[in-house]
Symmetry: D2
């Protein structure tokens, strides 16, 4: 009977900004789901998004109080994630939460405790795990294409510097940007890093240093069994969003590169040239955003384990904290 | 006022098969459009598609008689295209017609006459012009990246043989398969071919020869100014759908290659290997199907010229007919 | 005993021009060979090359009369090839002859008759068969990587137009340029073409048309079993020497592309760009020239069959003649 | 007058092993050079190489005492480099010395002092600087293609583990293998690293750990201005010799990849696959070995500054020592 009439999964969404608009649109094209509420302090934005997708504007309490709501999408500003997740957990809703859960590990742990107590599933939006190329690379490691993983190299470079006003509240490059790469590292290594060492520099714009942040970073990590991982980051890549993985194992190497808008190449008297990588995360990870939401819906609907959990969200923050400490002390940091 | 309240473009669609399902789904995600009717002799298929997209099932006459219907999508079987287009033209509807208009040039011309008389816009679904890579290549020719076009080379190879039952009614390889390449050739050359010569062979399966068809073909064409074009076709490419363009001009070469599902590469003791091309037209041209419908909607809504016209549909058939004649006579054929 | 003291193979070389200099230098680095004589009507060129490689300058008769001479390299002007080959055959020397044997099929046949009568081995310098990529592609066809060959596509484009004075005596584009591609076609198809059709245009420079030649060409050919082949040629490729092979078989596709001087790629705000192909035949086929001479030396020294024979040289000319006739008559030509 | 009769540069070579054979053969094809002596304790090897290249076998003293000898090539075992270089310097010979000068920094400094006192030029064989792709990448940084250098990423992975007997005397992975990458790093950064941090693991073979060495390593370094560099090494890459550079600057990214023997690609039902990288340093750096010797000959002949000096040799060792210390202490090391 379940298969004839699959139960509709009903959502309330917190946040009607750029990333909220993406999740709402993806939900609209995900079968067997319904978006009931949009919640945002910016009521104009909330209304516009609600109208577009046939949802209602509501406040937090009302949305969580509706027993029809099965799940929430938390896509509001970072400082609200933990509180909303705790409230949703207490209301018994399944949680899809944008990364990071919080910039403070203490608050993250409070959130995880609430989720654990409420026994609700909580997914953290590490979208890159759902990029078709990265997901395929991970699957091929899992099926043994390169034997035992030995080294992981992650290149992750943004096309340009965000506004300094954003950087001030971002938590810094490691918590805001590298956090995605820390999740990739854990996922690809298949083991927890036990130590890391980080360098950070300000090479792109001196204004970044003035707000106490870095714009260029390199991290190395090792696991208990001696596997090694390197991450390089920059806030500037004139050629677009540079997102590549390289994994070396006992039997070979797997790489996943950038995607381009077209396959057109021009050969002329100066060079053979092709497209730059897709511009930024909205373009590069459009498929990934769709796939992560579909994965959440499927797991929650079928009461299966989530492919990314609140614990994963916590561990990425632990690594980011360690990187901050390494940068501050100039020493490697045990995890 | 038009811009504040853009007029909704309302459709009736003929055909609820595989390609009809694609167009209906694309219409559903195209802003400012509405699908009113699905028409198909297979009433189960019509009903299923209608339910999915909030349309009604109707007959041809009823659909065309509804004054709310602005435009039709003709995605039914090839032998019905011309009659439906004529009826739609008489009813004053804008026409989006799947290729080919008809396998008989005489009927094509009758259709074009009716369309001309009715002064309705008619678009023929040469989807490949809307593939992001092919469209970008064409735009770069137009902006002068390679100077004057001199030679065009089109590789167009299907992953596998269709059923023999389909081949029997397909009109033959040149009318069914090469027709897309003939359109590409005209579009890229920027001049009409004035002569062509064609070879066809049966190399994939002797059953193809038994129904009087070929499965492997090579065509060369020239234009009045001496530009040259080559097309190669096969009904079998074990590695997937091979769709590539190569254009040589006085200042350089432009190429557009295949697309892959991922960018993953494996380097191991045997080779460095990557993904095969996307499997077939549904995968490769998914973006193109979306873009061609959007282009039709935009042109019709804004009363602008269509980017592909019924005349283009006719000319591709003229070239296909010439290729058939060349194959039969063993001689080059003037066009 | 032979293996302990391998017999030295001693050469006389006719021709001290550009290609002669290449062969002489390659001979110098081929073990178990010695260059005894350089023969050239340009005595300064002959002397310079002879001094460089420790050879003597001589006339044709003297060189052929020396019983120490085992083999000759014919790298003089095309119109002297046949006579020199006949003389060398009568003198019992093994022959390495640059392509073409002659522009006249009648004289080619006279030459082949003399060679046959003298029972000497005669090699024709189709260097491209020895390009590492092309040779590897051919070997992989032979070992069955793509099953039965069905279609061959040859792209062969020069970086720029030779002097008109050269074109006047070249025999025309098909005999001078396409001849290499005709040899590639026969080699890759593994069957003789039985018919061809050719288009030729003058698109690069009207001066070419004034001397009755073409600068742009497309050929299609078929074999008795229905295999198809396409060749495209241009005398202009602003991006360098474009030399690519593509072979389709029942089980897959093999391609061999251009080579570059470096693997450097630049990604910047405009594109991702890499090297153009190597400039022209001296750069692209440097390895091939070395390898063909080594293959000749090895086969003659070990009395093994030659990998390319005078018959191959003849057949390429037969195809070139057919292409000329097709161009002149506007009809396909049986071979 | 110098240009009409360029002075011949005459060499004595120490070492007749694998790398010695390469240098001797390259010298043989370098114009205006002559190899007078081969010196090796293995007199059979010395004799064979001497016969092959028309040189004489001699002892160290005799070779250095001959006033005709202008320059020496030191290609003997590592532990003899410093003494031979000191002796050659005292004899007033120009020195081409294989890397490393010595495993002990103290002995390196003694050698540099002797060279300085004797005012002879000393070149250290960092062959990779002369790889066509790496040299072109460096030249493009120098001409400003990517603006100011910000980050350097060096991937350097051997195809397989050397014998444990070799590892025992090699000085360890950082001194034996990473030393090349340390030189690349200095060359590409255009600034001296002021600190580094190193991880090393034994992942390939436990026998490596038993002799106190590592087989897998990751290093990060920074310069005074904050530029960052990462090196990753492994003694095992099943797919061949992996040698890649990636340099990020303010205006773009330059990369240099591996080279392959051919450009052949196979597309079949499983994948699109091409050649593995060239197997090891003899294949990959054949051009580089030729070019470095030519650069040495040209600089010494024309009394120009050497492109790589003994100081460069020393600095690479300083970095290797720092990496060893970092690995031993688990701390970053100031340089």
């Amino acid at each position: 009977m379940d298969q004839l009439f699959p139960r509709m999964l009903r959502f309330a969404q917190f946040g009607a900004g750029r990333i909220g608009a993406i999740h709402a649109a993806n939900l609209a094209s995900t079968p067997d789901t319904q978006l009931l509420y949009i919640v945002d302090v910016n009521t104009d934005a909330a209304r516009a998004l609600a109208v577009r997708h046939g949802a209602q504007v509501a406040g937090v309490e009302a949305a969580l109080a509706d027993p029809r709501v099965d799940a929430v999408i938390i896509a509001s500003s970072t400082d609200t994630h933990a509180d909303l997740a705790i409230a949703a957990a207490r209301a018994g809703k399944a949680i899809f939460c944008e990364k990071p859960i919080d910039l403070s590990l203490k608050r993250v742990d409070a959130c995880l405790a609430a989720v654990k107590k409420a026994k609700v599933p909580m997914f953290v939006g590490f979208n890159r795990r759902f990029d078709p190329s990265f997901a395929a690379l991970h699957a091929r490691i899992a099926r043994g294409d390169i034997g035992a993983v030995e080294q992981v190299i992650i290149s992750s470079r943004d096309p340009g510097l965000p506004p300094i006003s954003y950087l001030k509240v971002s938590g810094g490059q490691f918590r805001d940007m590298t956090i995605h790469d820390f999740d990739m590292a854990r996922w690809l290594l298949g083991e927890e890093p036990v130590e890391l060492f980080a360098y950070g520099s300000c090479l792109v714009d001196p204004a970044v240093a003035k707000v106490g942040d870095t714009d260029s970073a390199m991290v190395v990590m090792k696991t208990a069994s001696g596997k090694l991982c390197h991450i390089n980051n920059s806030r500037r890549a004139s050629y677009g969003y540079d997102q590549r993985l390289e994994v070396h194992g006992s039997k070979g190497r797997l790489t996943a590169g950038n995607r381009t808008a077209t396959t057109v190449e021009l050969a002329d008297a100066s060079a053979v040239s092709g497209d730059k990588p897709l511009f930024f995360f909205l373009e590069r990870y459009a498929d990934a955003y769709r796939a992560e939401l579909a994965a959440f819906v499927q797991a929650v609907s079928n009461r299966q384990p989530l492919p990314v959990t609140a614990h994963d969200g916590r561990q990425a923050i632990v690594l980011a904290e360690a990187a901050v400490k390494s940068l501050q002390t100039g020493r490697p940091v045990k995890i």
